[in-house]
Amino acid sequence: MIANRWNIPDYGLGMGLRSVHYAHVLEHKPKVDFFEVISETFLDKGGKPMAVLEEVASHYRVLLHGVSMAVGNTDPIDFDYLSKLKALAHKVKAPFVSDHLCWNAYMCHNSHDLFPIPLTEKTLKHVVGRVRQIQDFLELPVALENPSNYLEFKMSQMSEIEYLSRLAEEADCGLLMDVNNAYVSSFNHGFDPDEYIEQVPVERVLYHHVAGHTHKGTHILDTHSDHVVDKVWQMYTRLHERHGGRSTMVEWDADIPSFETVHQEVLKAQHYRDLAEAQKQNRVPAN
C-alpha cells in the first residue's frame, strides 16, 4: 500500500450517520467500520443529536466531514466556527477533518453551497494560505474534497486535478477524493474521468467518497440519492489499484432508503477493493 503523508490508516468501509437511521444504529449496533458525520449537524449543540453522537462515538470510529470551512472565501476565516469544529474533533477523537474545495459566502451572506473556484495561480495562493492557517489552528490534518461542479470559469489556468495536487503539496494538506464528484464534473465539463483518476496524487489521498447521482440529460446533479453507478465503481477500483486502500464511505443523503440498503451499497466497495487487489497482482511481473 502507498502510505499517505500522515500515515493515517485505512479505516475500512463506512456510512454516513443520518437521523433516519439513528434508532437502527443505536439499537442494533451494526457491523460498520466507521461512521462519517456532517460536522455542522453537531457543532455547538446539545440534546438528542449530541447524545446520539456520543453513543455512536463510544462504539465506532467517527470521521468528521464539513461543508462550511469555505477555503475559497474572501471573507475572513471564521475562527469561531473553527473553534467549535476543533472541540468536536477532540470530542470524537477524529484523526482528521474534511471539507470541500469551494467558496460559499460573500460579505458574510452564506449560500450554503459549494461554489467552484476559478482555477488560477492567484486563487491557488489565496486558498493555500487559508488552508495553512486552518490546519495550524485545528492542529489536525485537513482533507479537501473535489466538489461536483456545474460550471467552469474561462479564466481558469489549470485543470481541477492539477489545482488540487498543487494545493495539497503547497498547503501540505490531504485530499478527500470523491469518485462520484469526479465523474459528475467530467460529464458536466466534458473531460475524461479516467485521465483524471490517473492524475490523482494518491499519497495525498486520505479518504474516498462514492455516491449516486441524478442524470438530467444535459448535466448530472450530485444528489446522493441513488446507488453508485458502475463507472464510478470502475474509477474507484482503479484508484485502489493505484494506492492499495483508503477508507471509503458511501454518501446517501436524499430519498434515504433503509439502513440495510445503504449498508449493502457500502459493502459493494469490498468487492471492488478485492478486484483492485487481484488486478494489481496480475500486473506484477512474475520473477
Binding site: 455542522e40 440534546g47 451572506h109 461554489f115 456545474y150 467552469e152 448535466h219
Partner: protein, 265 residues
C-alpha cells in the same frame, strides 16, 4: 456569481443585478463562464440558483412544518422567498436560518394574518431552539431538599438553557397539536395561551400554564428570590402559596431548572 444565485426574480433580472453589482459590463456572465457541451453559461449558473432556493425551502420546511401545513406549500415558499432576501443566512449552519422568521412575519405587508403566523413561527422556532440547546445539569427535588427550610425563600433558580416561555393571542398550541398529530385542525380563534417549552430526557415538551403559574415561572426566570416571586404572584393573582409550591415542585421534577444560587454560599 453569489449575487446572481441569491437574487430574487427571474434569471434575466438576476443576471443584470449581478453584473451591476460586480461593476462588469452587460453580458459578462457569458464572458466569465465556459459553455459545456450541452449548456450555455447562463444555464450552467442557473443550476446553482435553483439549488439555492430549494435548500432554503428545505431548511425552513424542516423547522416550520406546522406553518407549512397551515399555509400550503406555495404560500409558504413565497414567504420564504421574501424572508431569505430580508434575512439571509449569515451562519455556518442552516440551523440558524429561521431565527428571524417570526419577526419577518410580524412585519410583513400584504398579510391579513400577521399575528397568527408570527405566533406559530415563534412556537416552532422555540421548539427548534430547545431541541438542540446546550446540555446542562438538572436540579432534582433531592437537591432542593438539602436546603434548610429557613433559607428556601432566598434561593434564586437558574433555568436550563433548553427552556422558553411564550405568550400568544391565538390558539397556536391547539393548532400545533392538531397539525402535528394529523388530527382535525380547529378553527383559528383568539385564545390567550401561555406556554412553557423545554427539553427533558432528550424530549421536547409543551405545557400550558395558568396566568398565575406563568407569571410565577417568568419571575423565577428573572432570578428573583423564590420568596419575592411568591409574594408578587400572590399579590397579583388570587392564589394560594401551597398551589404555587406545588407548581414549583412539578417544574423542578420536570427538569426545568439547572441549579440555584444559595444565599449562604
Amino acid at each position: 456569481m453569489h449575487t446572481f444565485v441569491v437574487e430574487p426574480g427571474d434569471r434575466e433580472h438576476a443576471l443584470r443585478a449581478a453584473e451591476a453589482r460586480s461593476g462588469l459590463e452587460s453580458g459578462s456572465a457569458e464572458e466569465l463562464i465556459l459553455p459545456s457541451p450541452t449548456l450555455q453559461p447562463s444555464e450552467r449558473i442557473q443550476i446553482y440558483r435553483q439549488m439555492y432556493l430549494l435548500r432554503m425551502y428545505e431548511a425552513m420546511e424542516i423547522d416550520f412544518p406546522v406553518l407549512l401545513a397551515h399555509l400550503g406549500e406555495d404560500r409558504f415558499h413565497d414567504l420564504v422567498d421574501g424572508y431569505v432576501q430580508a434575512y439571509p443566512s449569515k451562519s455556518y449552519t442552516l440551523d440558524h436560518l429561521g431565527g428571524h422568521f417570526s419577526r419577518f412575519l410580524a412585519e410583513a405587508k400584504n398579510l391579513d394574518d400577521n399575528q397568527l403566523l408570527q405566533e406559530l413561527a415563534q412556537l416552532e422556532w422555540a421548539l427548534c431552539e430547545v431541541a438542540i440547546a446546550h446540555d446542562s445539569p438538572t436540579l432534582s427535588l433531592s437537591d432542593l431538599s438539602s436546603v434548610p427550610p429557613d433559607e428556601f425563600l432566598d434561593l434564586r433558580l437558574s433555568p436550563i438553557p433548553a427552556l422558553r416561555t411564550l405568550v400568544s393571542k391565538y390558539n397556536v398550541n391547539d393548532l400545533f397539536k392538531a397539525y402535528s398529530s394529523e388530527a382535525i385542525v380547529p378553527a383559528v380563534c383568539e385564545r390567550e395561551t401561555r406556554l412553557v417549552v423545554w427539553r427533558h430526557d432528550l424530549k421536547v415538551w409543551r405545557l400550558e400554564l395558568s396566568p398565575a403559574g406563568f407569571a410565577f415561572l417568568r419571575e423565577i426566570l428573572t432570578k428573583s428570590t423564590l420568596g419575592v416571586c411568591l409574594d408578587h404572584t400572590i399579590d397579583r393573582f388570587d392564589c394560594e402559596e401551597t398551589q404555587l409550591f406545588e407548581w414549583f415542585q412539578e417544574w423542578s421534577s420536570e427538569g426545568m431548572f439547572s441549579g440555584f444560587e444559595h444565599p449562604k454560599k
